[in-house]
């Protein structure tokens, strides 16, 4: 396991450096937006990574409710935490790009912006609940809230979709006709970010396992002392 971790860390470091070079130097400069467009190589892969992590959170919450396997609960917690980090990157880089390109920091009616923001809020409230819960059954409650949050996403999407078609606002230009060289850089960056997310989740997972073992040992110790 140790060797696998070191290998993953090495691969992540290499990929990230290569992706940095590709995004900042090798990728062609966009015609109208100029260099500002390069933030795209960080913004979009972070968003995809965050969505993958939130999906993992949803699936492992369901698995936990069915199987009651503590590993699924730890996975749910870890994926939500790392997902929120990547989602924060998305929400911070978005306005930095939008200000010079759209002329505004934030477009309140835009579907992707608002859906991502609501997603971010939902998962932060999930993490707050986990932190504040005092009952021994936190995993069950957290899993239920995670499922509620995931059910909310399509509703958010549709409500904003209709909202926007009513009140047009600047729409992101991504997708559509992307230069193949740009698409390549984008995918390299995504691979690097996914590796980074994997590495972070792995570290956090081991940490959580160790933390729970320590807590169990402490509880056992105080129990033994009490009976003496």
């Amino acid at each position: 396991m140790k060797r696998g971790f070191t290998l993953l860390a090495l691969v992540t470091a290499l990929l990230l450096s290569f992706a940095l070079y590709e995004a900042l130097i090798a990728a062609p400069t966009e015609q109208t937006m100029g260099n500002v467009q390069r933030i795209f190589y960080y913004h979009v892969p972070s968003a995809w990574t965050a969505f993958v992590l939130f999906l993992i959170n949803f699936v492992s919450s369901i698995v936990y409710l069915i199987r009651r396997n503590p590993k699924a609960d730890i996975l749910a917690l870890v994926s939500a935490e790392v997902g929120v980090v990547f989602c924060t990157v998305v929400i911070v880089t978005g306005p930095i790009w939008a200000r010079p390109v759209w002329g505004i920091w934030w477009a309140p009616g835009d579907i992707r912006l608002t859906t991502t923001l609501v997603l971010w809020l939902i998962y932060i409230s999930y993490l707050v609940l986990r932190r504040f819960s005092t009952s021994g059954r936190t995993p069950v409650i957290a899993a239920v809230v995670a499922i509620f949050g995931a059910l909310d996403v399509p509703l958010v999407y549709f409500s904003i979709w209709f909202f926007r078609t009513q009140h047009p606002s600047p729409v992101i230009g991504g997708g559509g006709s992307l230069d193949p060289r740009m698409a390549r850089v984008l995918l390299i960056n995504w691979a690097a970010f996914m590796c980074l997310a994997w590495l972070l989740s792995w570290t956090r997972y081991e940490l959580e396992v160790a933390k729970r073992q320590v807590e169990e040992a402490q509880a056992l110790e105080s129990l033994l002392e009490g009976s003496r």
Binding site: S125, L129, S135, G149, D152, V156
Partner: protein, 224 residues
């Protein structure tokens, strides 16, 4: 006892308690009144402007006020270990949940019935669209608030600072419902567009979360 009997008995008990103490309803009414008054100082709109913003103001006021009632839903059952007694009894969990949700629905509806005329007076409102549509919007919107509110109040029962935990959980999840209520109300008030889509969205929201709550409430009741 059958499902309906348990629901009815719990609901009757809650309404009787509320009728005698009037804790939740008084706090809610006064709170909503304060919000209306403060908003009317903060914005001094013309009749045209107030039609555009009133939908948002009215629902935000109801949402904040509803949290006051929702927080007391289960706290009442903690005294004298009523909830533990319920848990060890053979009664299923869902009738209890439905009774609590109906109770909150009634309390919040009373609040809305009292506060709406005040809103109309303070903001010089005159409805330009089909006014009858406000009734389904109010019913569906209120249910959307209380179904998730009742559920999350049960979840936040065993957390540190539970009074603040409820809005933290409820508000992000309620964003689509709020968008629906506010836009539907604004559509009716201004009469510029149809509120149909928003009413359909509220219905979808109600169906999804009522089903989810009924499927998962037992887990929460056991876990808490």
């Amino acid at each position: 006892m059958s499902f309906l009997e348990i629901t009815r008995a719990t609901l009757a008990k809650d309404i009787r308690l509320e009728w005698r103490s009037k804790d939740a309803i008084n706090a809610m009414l006064f709170f909503a009144l304060l919000v209306v008054v403060i908003f009317s100082f903060a914005f001094d709109p013309t009749a045209e402007e107030s039609r555009r913003i009133a939908g948002g103001l009215i629902w935000v006021a109801f949402l904040f006020a509803a949290v006051v009632a929702l927080n007391q839903t289960w706290a009442r059952e903690l005294r004298n270990q009523v909830l533990d007694a319920y848990r060890v009894s053979p009664a299923p969990a869902n009738p209890l949940f439905l009774a609590k949700a109906f109770g909150n629905f009634i309390f919040v509806s009373v609040l809305e019935a009292v506060m709406t005329p005040l809103f109309v007076a303070f903001y010089k409102l005159r409805v330009l669209g089909p006014a009858w549509e406000l009734i389904p919007i109010a019913l569906l919107g209120t249910w959307a608030l209380v179904i998730n509110g009742t559920f999350f109040a049960a979840i936040s029962l065993r957390t540190r600072s539970r009074e603040i935990m409820l809005p933290l959980l409820l508000f992000p999840i309620s964003i689509p419902a709020l968008l629906g209520m506010v836009n539907a109300t604004t559509a009716v008030l201004t009469g510029e567009e149809s509120a149909r889509f928003w009413i359909a969205l509220l219905m979808a929201y109600d169906v999804v979360f009522t089903t989810a709550s009924l499927l998962m409430f037992e887990l929460v009741l056991e876990a808490e």
